[in-house]
Each structure stands twice: as structure tokens, then as C-alpha cells.
Amino acid sequence: MSETAPSLRPPLITGDKSLADVTRDICAPMDCKPTGWWWAAFIVSVLALILGVVTVWYQIATGIGTWGLNKTVGWAFDITNFVFWVGIGHAGTLISAVLFLFRQKWRTAVNRSAEAMTLFAVMCAGIFPLIHMGRPWLAYWMLPYPNTRGSLWVNFKSPLLWDVFAISTYLLISAVFWYVGLIPDMATIRDRSKAGLRQRITSLLALGWDGSARTWHRYETVYMLLAGLATPLVFSVHTIVSMDFATAVIPGWHTTIFPPYFVAGAIFSGLAMVTTLMIVARTTMHLENYITMNHIERMCLLMLSMGCIVGLAYGTEFFMAAYSGNGYEQFVFKNRAFGSMAWAYWTMVVCNVCVPQLLWIRKLRTCLPVVFVIVILVNVGMWFERFVIIVTSLYRDFLPSSWAHYTPSLVEFATFIGSFGLFFTCFLLFCRIAPAIAIAEIKGAAHLKKPPARVSIVKENAA
């Protein structure tokens, strides 16, 4: 099996590595001082994070009147960012859970960082509804707990409440999935580091892991169960997010296509973000032998297929609006494509549907700079998708006298930049303190070459 596999498929790891090489290479970024690139990225991220913290403080102290919202457009930047970040997270789960169930071994090069990305993206997402409450210190009111008001329970018929449960479950399960995957690697770091702080921390986190086959056997069972649980979870989360809109009687939102459309969009945007991070990690941390062009190409193909599904959804939406015979529905879609916010709509179409078509060409999808530009454009396009869905459905409502326009305020921009600051600060720290590639998983999947047989000893004994 191991002998024939490499000839059928490109090897998962290039450069003729031994098991010990794999451990050493992946742990290397943690052992040496950070590079100049890392420091530059870290400083920029921390500055963005500080900007975010200051503006969040300001808008909570002053009130969310600091945003550009008005009576007609009561949901805009904030919820766009929320859906954007939740969507980013979904590709992490797709890679770690769905591709695991499909036995896609190439996922081992990227699953650890994709899971970390999920965790940080969901953290960023969660901040926006919290700010939108205006009084985030009362966030616990969203939970059904016995209270002195009756008890007055939460409204279980509201998709916004489903969202509370969906997002918090998603955050917790993603965190557990990530940590469970980290345990064997923590043991590896524990065993290779000298006595000191790092060894103490990793031995605490490794929970006394010793690589016993019995533990591995149970561990594999649990990992499979978690993957099986996370897969429907990821679909449920974005379905519920889409229901925040789809259950409202707003033309442009009230459609049954929303759940699959949102899930496909979420995975699409997340794949773009994972690929962005992969390219950055590959280049800055010298992991070219582990995150190979083969990996990048596969990500591109996934992105291409998702981009086509998203394009199909855009078309279907228009067709259904025309076919529905509903004047309001038809108006919203005409207004989206040709109204005063048409620039946002066409940015979305170009970035999400047209640009990814370049990935059909093998030469382009194996050229890193081109791929990098494409994934950045997809990230931009997917942010605009949410913006288009939310704002263009609202700003010209049923009553022309209440039509309004929406311009985001500086505070909203700064908060969005701040969320990027949080995301990248967390991600860069993660790259320094934990192995960015799942060591134990990649060793198992890569089927490394057998070391030369110990013939000499055998002969000696036979003699």
C-alpha cells in the first residue's frame, strides 16, 4: 500500500522527510526567535486591535447612535461583519470535520490552522451582536435562566435566539475539537523541550498523554464522533444565521434558498481565508514541504466549485424574483443590480463569480501570487455579499417616503478593522505557541518512506 500510493498521488510531504524531521520542522518556528515579517504583522495587528478596543469602548460609552444606521436601515455594518466572520469560521470546520469524514488525507497540512481560524473567527463574530445590544454587560439575558421577572423565559420561537445557541455551541465545540487535536502534539512538545516554563505548560495541556495504543484507539473514536457532530453543526449554524433574515417578511430576505445559499457562501469565504493564511504561513514560516502546491491547488478547486454554487444561487435568486410575480420582490432585485447601490452588487458578482473562474486554468491556480490576489478578492466579494443582502433589501422599503441611504460611520469602520486586529493577533500568537500543523495527524497520513532495513544485525544474529 505504502509503496504504490506515491505513484498514484503526489506525496503529502515533499523533501524526503523522516518522522523526526517532521517533528523538528513543524516545531522549528516555536524554537527560534520570530522573524521580522512576523513582528511586522504582529505590530500592525496589535495596533488594529487597540483601535478596535478603543472604538468599542467609545461606542458602548456613547451609544450605538455613533453608527450610520437610520430608521429604514436598522441593520447594516454590524450584522454584515457578524455574518462575514461566522462564515469564515465555517471553512475551518469543513476542513477539519467534513474532509476528515471523507478521508481526505491532504487536510492534515491545513486542518490545525483552519481550526484555529474557526475559533478566532467565531470570537470576532460574537463581538458584533454583543456590541449591538448596547448594554453588553446584560448579555446573559439572552440565556434562559431562572430570574426575578417571573421567571420570564427567552423566546424559543425567534431565530435570533436560535443563533445564540448555535453560535455558542459552535464556539465551544470548535474549541474542544481543536484542543483534542492538540493533545498528542502537546505531548510531543513536552517530550522534546527542556525543563522550563514551556515544558510545564505543555505537560499540563498534554494531560499525561503517552501515546498508548489503547488511548489512541479511543481517541480516534472520539475524534470521529466530534467530526460527525461538527459536520451537521456547521450546516445548522449558518442555516440558523440565514433564518435571521429568511424568517423576516422583507423582500430579498424572505426566500427558502437562504439556508443552502448561506452555507455555500460561508464555506466559500472561509476557504478563501484559509488559503490566504496558508500562503502566509507557508511563506513566512518556511513550511513549503508541508503546505505544498498540491494543497494550494486542491483548495483552489474547492473554492472554484463553491464559487460556482454561489454564482448559481445569485442567478436562482433573480430567477425566483422574476418568476414569483411579486412586485416588491422584483423591485428589490432590480434595485440591487441597477439601483444606487449597484456598485456593491457588481463588486460582489465580479469578485465571487467571475474572478474564481480563473482557477479553471492550471497555470494560474499553481501560481502563488495569482492565487493570493484571487483569494483576497473573494474575501472582499464575500463581505460585499452580506452587505448587499442586508442593506439593499432594507434601504428602499415598502414605503417610498421612508427610503433612505446608508453610509457607515468611521466608528463602524474602526470596529471592523479592530476585529481583523483581534483575528490576526490571535492567529499570529497561535503560530508561535502551538504547532501550526497537526504533527501526529500528518505523520499518520503521509506514509513516510521506510528507513533502510537493519540487515547487518540480522545477519550477525543468524551467523
Binding site: P159, D191, L207, H217, L225, S236
Partner: protein, 178 residues
């Protein structure tokens, strides 16, 4: 109860698997193996039964789903029924999403904590530092020596065919090796 065990270490999973299968065919008992990653097929090679943790997951998931369904029903139509837009108080479809999330949450945490409990993994536990390199690039088989017919020299020679790197005898006492 303490007894003698033989440690045999290998450099490649194929050697480990072949050695484990051959040793069991000779009628010897394999106590455990230590590997840097989950070796595919090792559970069958050393004779481990399928884990029952799936049942823990199922029971936790069902508890989460049914418990949350009951709670939603009780909160929305018994404890304080609130009329929301004229919808029925106890509307089962709208209870499904939250019940599903509760099922996933409980099933996930339940099976992970069950894994920790069954495998005795907890913070602050010292690894039974069995053999250097088992979390890096060494595969180790632990063979039971209690069988009266066990001949260390013969077993060691037998293992040479599987590219064994190193063998040594240790004492096993409960979960510890010394």
C-alpha cells in the same frame, strides 16, 4: 500485580504492525503499544475491541435533545406562556434548532470527558515516560512475559526479522512501568 514485560521498539509502522500480528500468532500476549500517531489497523493487530465511547456520545446527545425539548415545551407553554405573534405556544418545529444544538453540545463534551475519564487523562498527570521517542519517531510494543514458555532470547531473535531497533525488559505494576 507486577509482572515482567518485554519492550520492543521499531522505526516504522509497517514493522510494528507485522511484528504485532506475528507475535499474536505465536500465542504471546501484547499488553499495549506506544506510537507517535494513530497507526491504522493497530487496534486489530493487538486485539483491541471497538470502543464503547460511541454509546456515551449517543446517550449524551439524546439527553441533550430530549432535555432541551422538554425544557422548551415547559418554558414556552407551562411556566409562562407568552403569545408570540399568535403562534401556538408549544410549536415543535421551532423547538428543533435549539434542541439540536443542545444535543451536539452535550454529545461532544460528554464523549470528550468520557475519553479523558476512561483513558485517565487529566491535567497535572505525569506521563509514564515509557520509552524515549514514542511521541516523536519510535513505535514500541509491550509484550507480556508471564507465559511460562516465554523465552526472551528467542523472541528477540524472532523480532529481528521485523527490523526491531531495541529491546529491553521492564516490570509492569498496574499502569506503571519501571
Amino acid at each position: 500485580m507486577s509482572h515482567r514485560v518485554l519492550f520492543a521498539s521499531f522505526e516504522h509502522e509497517d514493522d510494528l504492525l507485522a511484528a504485532a500480528t506475528a507475535i499474536r500468532q505465536k500465542g504471546l500476549r501484547i499488553i499495549d503499544a506506544f506510537t507517535p500517531y494513530a497507526v491504522h489497523g493497530l487496534d486489530r493487530a493487538i486485539g483491541l475491541k471497538p470502543s464503547r465511547l460511541t454509546w456515551v456520545c449517543f446517550v449524551c446527545g439524546m439527553t441533550g435533545a430530549l432535555g432541551m425539548l422538554w425544557f422548551e415545551h415547559w418554558a414556552a407553554s407551562v411556566s409562562w406562556a407568552v403569545n408570540v405573534g399568535g403562534k401556538p405556544w408549544n410549536s415543535l418545529p421551532s423547538d428543533v434548532p435549539v434542541a439540536f444544538e443542545a444535543a451536539v453540545l452535550l454529545a461532544g463534551f460528554g464523549s470528550v470527558f468520557a475519553l479523558f475519564a476512561v483513558s485517565r487523562l487529566y491535567p497535572g498527570k505525569q506521563a509514564r515516560n515509557i520509552f524515549p521517542g514514542t511521541t516523536d519517531d519510535r513505535f514500541v510494543l509491550v509484550i507480556d512475559e508471564t507465559n511460562a514458555a516465554f523465552d526472551v532470547v528467542r523472541v528477540e531473535k524472532f523480532l529481528l526479522a521485523f527490523n526491531v531497533v531495541e529491546t529491553c525488559e521492564r516490570i509492569q505494576d498496574g499502569g506503571r512501568y519501571s
